[in-house]
Symmetry: C2
Subunit: 316 residues, 2 copies
Amino acid sequence: MGRGSPLASPMNLICTGTIGIDTIETPGNDRREHLLGGSGVYFAAASSFYTTSRLVAAVGDDFPSEFLDTIKSFEGVDVEGLEIRQGSKTFRWGGKYLDDMDRRETLFTELGVLEEAPPEIPDSYKDSEIVFLANSHPAIQLDMLSQLDRRTLAVADTMDLWIGIAKDELTTLLGKVDGLVLNFDEAELFTGHRNPVTAGRKLLEHGPRFVVVKKGEHGCILVHRDGLAALPAYPTERVVDPTGAGDSFAGGLMGRLADRSSDDPGSFESVRDALAHGTVVASFNVESFSLERLRGISKQDIQTRFADYASMTRIG
Amino acid sequence: MGRGSPLASPMNLICTGTIGIDTIETPGNDRREHLLGGSGVYFAAASSFYTTSRLVAAVGDDFPSEFLDTIKSFEGVDVEGLEIRQGSKTFRWGGKYLDDMDRRETLFTELGVLEEAPPEIPDSYKDSEIVFLANSHPAIQLDMLSQLDRRTLAVADTMDLWIGIAKDELTTLLGKVDGLVLNFDEAELFTGHRNPVTAGRKLLEHGPRFVVVKKGEHGCILVHRDGLAALPAYPTERVVDPTGAGDSFAGGLMGRLADRSSDDPGSFESVRDALAHGTVVASFNVESFSLERLRGISKQDIQTRFADYASMTRIG
């Protein structure tokens, strides 16, 4: 898990995303309300094990101070770009997982601050080299990206909603980012192809160098201009709450890319290497609600599980 | 891909299974009739790239001589145990794949010779050390196994039908084999647990040292008394006909175990190593109907793809 070069310093990592207050229902567990969540929070916490993670997101004045403390408890998370907006309400989301934990339905959505102007990117963040645009309207992702002209690598997430109602803007975005991460069913929805390799290749035609197709408990597939890679999920019996699995996966992935400081963090070799880190961090995240599990682990715990994972998937 | 020891000779591999005449409908392709199929045929062809494979199976007197020639064209397949039964009909099966190629429905089944007494195991096969009991009624599997008392390792396959109507006999079988391979949904059906690791552990309670849970396009999980392993499928766009994927996977797996001649072919390390070989051989098989693809490849083709696969799934 060493860096590409012992002399290189990590690249600056920025993430734009959401911060939310979640209600989660899981098949095997009680309903949990008032949980810290949101794509930006999961991403920032996960990536903070690798590098300093600059979080750009907005909350309302109802945002509990203990949640802010939780975010700050991750040493690597930089909260200068976290905007507490007076008179606004924090985004709230409720989700219910069905029997197989891989499918969920939305119970409610209160957009709150997400319906207002997006958060500002602080000037001190403008030199960020590694950019992750967590799921939001592609027009906002495009706007954020346009403010970060020093970037070396930009990767976006998206979701079925935007594929449905903002496909043109999403296609424009694909022409401006280096990579896209999205779920298996979203890749099919976008391209009409269920085979993840075929779907990935179709998405590459719009511009990015690589697409990571996330398959949840079945792992992920990397479709890169320069090669294919496939990884299983970390085999675990302890799936308590899958919320944030994709964002913490992206966090481990992008954190590793920033920390490793490759000359070309978007190369096939760099991304393939980083996939396993995303997988391992995400495997911790699903073991409890909210950030409860990530809060309780150290980099050493990640390294230990990484070694287990490498052993479990060794070939030849 | 070398053997455990260059001095060891391969162990004797025997497979009991079916030989059939298949009709296949796939979403992207025309209906194909009069195809050579059956669990034993796919297994024997796949394992023959690694070692000599003794095939015990019966057909009727309607079995086409060109199909026999096809089986014999695999140099490593020993057909002494292939019984051509006068006055009997060969097993026939028709299957239709649905859109996602991972689900299929049975169009028709004509059991023919499968309704009669099982084939005899030739005396010359009685010293077989590595045994694969392809899917059939667990009572037949038990009977076959009882005739092979020199075995070092016995592995069984099964299917949802037997879990439904012969679970007691299947449970007895589990107490007498070293390993079980079965599909993801069958593991859930047997144990009531959808998580493949949990389901695998439950199955281990009945006696085997290991369970391989097959997830089709999503790869496989090994639940062994001594450890866990997980592998993705070989990422491919060329899935023409998934028929025989599980049997050719098992063939590559067991062929490798026999060829490698480990002191303990059922150890965690041995089985984990062999999983990747099963994966690669199965990835060829699905690229065409029947044995068409396996007939056209060499051991060198398998080695080349094995190297690709190892590279695609490399961690760290």
